[in-house]
Each structure stands twice: as C-alpha cells, then as structure tokens.
C-alpha cells in the first residue's frame, strides 16, 4: 500500500534563498514520521508547502506531492482548502497563529466542523466538548466558553490538538507541538498523541529539534540539514548506527541522562550552518564535517546502507567507520 503522504524532490525558494533543496519523505497510516534538524533547516516551510500554506513570497516545486495516492500539486486553492482541516490537519509552531484571540475556544472549534461538514452549531459544539475531554481537558463545557488567552500554554496546545481532530483527519502535521512546554506537560501531550494514533490510525508528521522527542515517538526519522534530507531511517537504527556525519555530530551534542560524564566536554559540531543560495554545489555540511575530503565539493551521492534507509554523503557505508 502506498504511503498516505508522498513528497518527492520538494524544492522551496524565497527569492534567491533556496530554503528546501530536493526533500523527499513519506508518511504511512498509523506511523509517526519525525522531521528533525536545526533552526532554519527548512522543517516548517516543508510542512507549510505540503498544506499549501506557503507565504506568498515562497515558491514550491516538486516531482510529486500526493495525498492518499492522489496528486495534490495541481490542486487549486479551493481543492486544498477542502482537504485542510478535514483529511489533513496541522498544529502550528505558534499556537496563537491559528487560535483567534477574539473568539471563544468553542466557536473556533465548531467552525471547522460547520465549514467542512455542514454540521449544526449544536452538533459541532457537542463534538468540540467530546474532543476536549478526549485530550483530557477537565470541565470541557467551561473551556468552550473561554478565550485563548485565558488558557495556560499546556491547555492551549491541547485545544490545538482537539481542534485539529474535529474532522477526524487521516494526516496530522504537528510543528514543534511541545517545544514551549514543561517536560511534564510535554510527556502528557506526547502520550496523548500516541494514544490517538493507536485509536484512530493517524499518520503523524512531527517536526521537532528535540532528539529525545524523536527517539520516543518516531517510527521513522528524516534528518534535515540546510534544506536537504541528509538521512532517513527507522528510528532504532538511526540512534544505534547513525550514518551521516551530521547525524553523528548531532547525537554526540546532547547530554544523555544516566550517561553523563561531567568531567568531559560534550561532543560538538564546530562552526555554523552555511548560507545556501542558488547555484550552491557539493555537501552543505563539508565546512563542519570531520570526514570531509576534496570530492565533497562535487555532486553528492545518496547511499542506501539498507533497503529502508538512505543518507546523502560522499562516503560509502563500507568506508564509514562505526560511530
């Protein structure tokens, strides 16, 4: 069976800036696919491009962009807006960008169902209350009458999740849904998403830069660097045997509770992410890479160490020492 979401060779540019340069990924039903990478690598714009929500100064091209086997690249705005909020829904990085401060939680949630399904206001509010309870918000009736600013960050994020679920979407894109939250609340919300996935068979594209979140939630992971997917792998192998030098660097940077050596420095990646503009050639990681060699400035091959993984690097799997 083909994946629910298929993205092949996605390119996104803002004027001369090539924000995404040929990214491919697939999300299957019942699967969480994590998109991980550092600030500015192109995670959010990838999600926005899939939803057809890029800002007007952004341009999108792709070899293929398909939802449930059907092309959505050629879909007009009317067709896209019929999909959005209905079969595919998104939780944005900034909750306040999708919650309108002027309307109550209840009326905003109900609106989604009224628009897409022509539900009555009464039925829509009932559904909203049911979903608020489902994301374990206590006294949902009261919450329906509150305004977004009257909610704590954790509650607001739950409301966002509940709102995204109004029409039983098949695909949920969540952009850093827990980054601004405390670890305790983060654990609660991620558990909730995992439960919903089990119950509803949701496909989830989860964007994060937190490797702990990736390890604990993902089935599959795509690592982005400077607009490219530099490695894609099932989660366990990514952590146990990272292939791309950037992935290796990233994993060595995070202190791991229980394995902490206070007397030793953390691993680190020297230098900074380069600015990539039109006409850039070679590996974007080469100035920071401990393994770089002269041919890293030329075209880079995508390698397949296993049938279900790949990474973008000049060094072949058999030449790559164990990390």
């Amino acid at each position: 069976m083909s994946a629910l979401l298929e993205v092949e060779d996605l390119e996104i540019s803002f004027g001369a800036l090539d924000a995404v340069r040929g990214a491919s990924l697939e999300v299957r039903r019942g699967e969480t696919h994590c998109l991980v990478g550092e600030s500015g690598c192109g995670k959010s714009v990838t999600a926005l491009a899939v939803m057809g929500l890029l800002p007007s100064n952004g341009a999108r091209r792709a070899k293929r962009l398909a939802f449930d086997g059907k092309d959505i690249l050629g879909l007009d705005e009317k067709g896209m807006s019929r999909l959005r909020g209905d079969r595919m829904a998104m939780i944005f990085q900034e909750p306040m960008t999708s919650l309108n401060p002027a309307y109550t939680v209840g009326s905003q949630m109900a609106e989604v169902l009224i628009r897409h399904r022509g539900a009555s206001k009464r039925a829509a509010l009932d559904r909203a209350a049911e979903l608020l309870a489902r994301v374990r918000i206590t006294s949902p009736g009261m919450r329906l009458g509150q305004y977004p600013h009257q909610l704590s960050g954790g509650l607001r994020q739950r409301v966002m999740i509940a709102m995204a679920l109004m029409c039983d979407p098949e695909l949920l894109i969540a952009d850093e849904p827990t980054t601004a939250l405390d670890v305790t609340v983060q654990a609660q919300i991620l558990r909730l998403l995992a439960d919903l996935q089990k119950d509803l068979g949701l496909a989830i594209l989860l964007i994060t830069h937190d490797l702990g979140v990736v390890a604990r939630t993902a089935h599959r992971v795509s690592v982005m660097y400077a607009g490219e997917v530099v490695e894609s792998s099932p989660v366990d192998r990514l952590f146990h045997r990272p292939m791309h030098p950037y992935t290796r660097g990233l994993l060595s940077c995070v202190p791991v509770p229980g394995k902490i050596r206070r007397d030793q420095p953390l691993g680190s990646i020297p230098g900074m992410v380069p600015h990539v503009t039109r006409g850039f050639e070679g590996c974007a990681f080469r100035q920071r890479c401990p393994l770089t060699r002269p041919d890293c400035a030329g075209p880079i091959e995508r390698r397949h160490p296993d049938p279900d993984r790949d990474y973008l690097c000049q060094i072949a799997p058999n030449e790559m020492a164990a990390p």
């Binding site: 983060q186 654990a187 830069h209 953390l266 680190s268």
Partner: protein
Amino acid sequence: MTRPLIEVRDVGRVFRVRSGLLGQPKRVVAVDGVSLALMPGEVMGVVGESGCGKSTLAKIILGLLEPSEGEVLIDGRKLSGMGRRERAQLIQPVFQDPFSSLNPRRRVRDIVALPLAAQGGISSAEVKSRVDRMLERVGLDPSMGERLPAQLSGGQRQRVAIARALVMRPRIVVCDEPTSALDVSVQAQILNLLAELRREFGLSYLFISHNLAVVEHVASEVAVMYLGRIVERNDAESLFRDPRHPYTKALLASVLTPEPGLGIPETGLGETMPDPANVPPGCRFHPRCPVAIERCAQETPSTQKGDSGLVECHLAAPA
C-alpha cells in the same frame, strides 16, 4: 570552614497583580522562604517548571529585584548594602535570550566594554585590549567587535553575553537559561565554553535551566523548585540517582532521553497546573502528587535535612 559565595536566607518575593477590571489585586507568591548557599567553585543548578520562581530568585541574587523578605549575602556581605560597582565585580548575569539582552544599537565591542566603562578609571587602550582578549577567549574574532547584535547568530550573541559577563573578572556568574534559545549543537558549544571558563577563571555558577539533562551535565549541586519553594536539594550525583521528593521523581521521569523503544512515560501528575496566585494549603504539591495522603492537604511539611540533602515532604526522608 570556607564561606559561601552566595548565601540566600529565607528570601521571599510577592508580586501584586491587578486582575480584571474590579478584581482585588492578586498576590502572586513567586519565591517563598528560599534558603541556599553556593560554595566557591560549585555549580548550583536550579530546576523546576515554568513560573516556579527561578528567574525571580536569580534577579534577587543579582540585586536587580528587591526581596519582599529575607536577605542575600554575597561573599559574606549584605547585597542590600552593596554599591553597583562593587556588586558588578563579584557577580554577573548571562540571560536566556541573547536577542533581547543585548542593546541592538550598540556594536559588540561597546557592549562588552560597558561594564568596564561603568567602573571608570581604566584607560581606553586597556579597555580595548581587555575586550579583544575576552572576545577571543569566547571564540569570537576581534573583528566581530565592529558588528551589531543583529548581524550575529544566536550562539555568537550568547558568546557576546558571556564575554560581557566575564570582562569584569567576577567570581560568580548567574546563568538563567543560557542555552534554552539555542540549537543543540550550539548549546553544546556554549556549555563546553562555560565549563572551560569556569576552570580557567575559578568561577562559580548559579545555573538555571528547565533542561534536566543539561543541569545534570553542568551542576555539582541541584535545587528543585516548586511554586516558589525549594522542595529538594542535594549534590547532583545523588539527586539524579536517588530523588526523594515525589515532584523531583515525576520531573526526572518526564525527561525523554534519546533512547528509542522506551516509549513515553506516564507522569502521574494529573491535570491541575500550579498557580502562584493560589498556593494550595498543606503541601503545595498535594493537588498533583501521585502519592499524597490526607495529611498532605492539611499540614505544611517542614524542611528535613539529611547528610547531604534536604527535602520537604511528609512521605520522604532526606538523603
């Protein structure tokens, strides 16, 4: 016995916040009866959820905010009686947000020089050479000194903030979420730099973070705050190995270590969120505590001191 560099004695801070149009002003209890001591060469980590009072405590220790009660001693002397210059030579801050803590209209060089200029009596040649040396030491090329903060990356800005804090050669640096706004690779660079500088200059840190793994990596002592109080404190190794307070346990259990296959932990904390405008009676943690008994709702637990640590809970023994 060596004298603590920072001694916080029963410090409290209440904010009066007006809510709504005709509501009574609310009393927000940000910090409540906190005592702690930072010994020379130590790194005291302070952890706890958003709003538990970490930054308020940091500002009181830096002399940027008056406590409503209690007192702070820096190197044995009362902070309240200390002049700005004297204070600046002892203790300096590094804040979370390098984007807002640096004056956007000043060049990097002037930002770093400001604490020196405020002292007076230092020649401009001396200022320049000290600034250059400090920029270089934090990993910035002295030519970066001519730039404005907007022309730097987040990590570079945090290096500027560290250079500004260290140019006075203080003995204590208060770091309030110094890496929370940074990517993990940049976070690692900054944490490694802070560790090197500590050894080199014999610094002591008060290190605030909500990232427990980071605190475990840097701290020698850890204080856990909940709703304005320190509910547990111990040396870092013991606290992470053997947490005693139910809140510390829940906090540590919530950390998602980068180990696949372990799933997402159940925190056992329930839905109620702590509200400093409405501190519960008895043990302030009882509405969320998974092991609370009736007594917890009625009686405030006292501070129990053990060999190395302290804990405030009816059901826990100190370490």
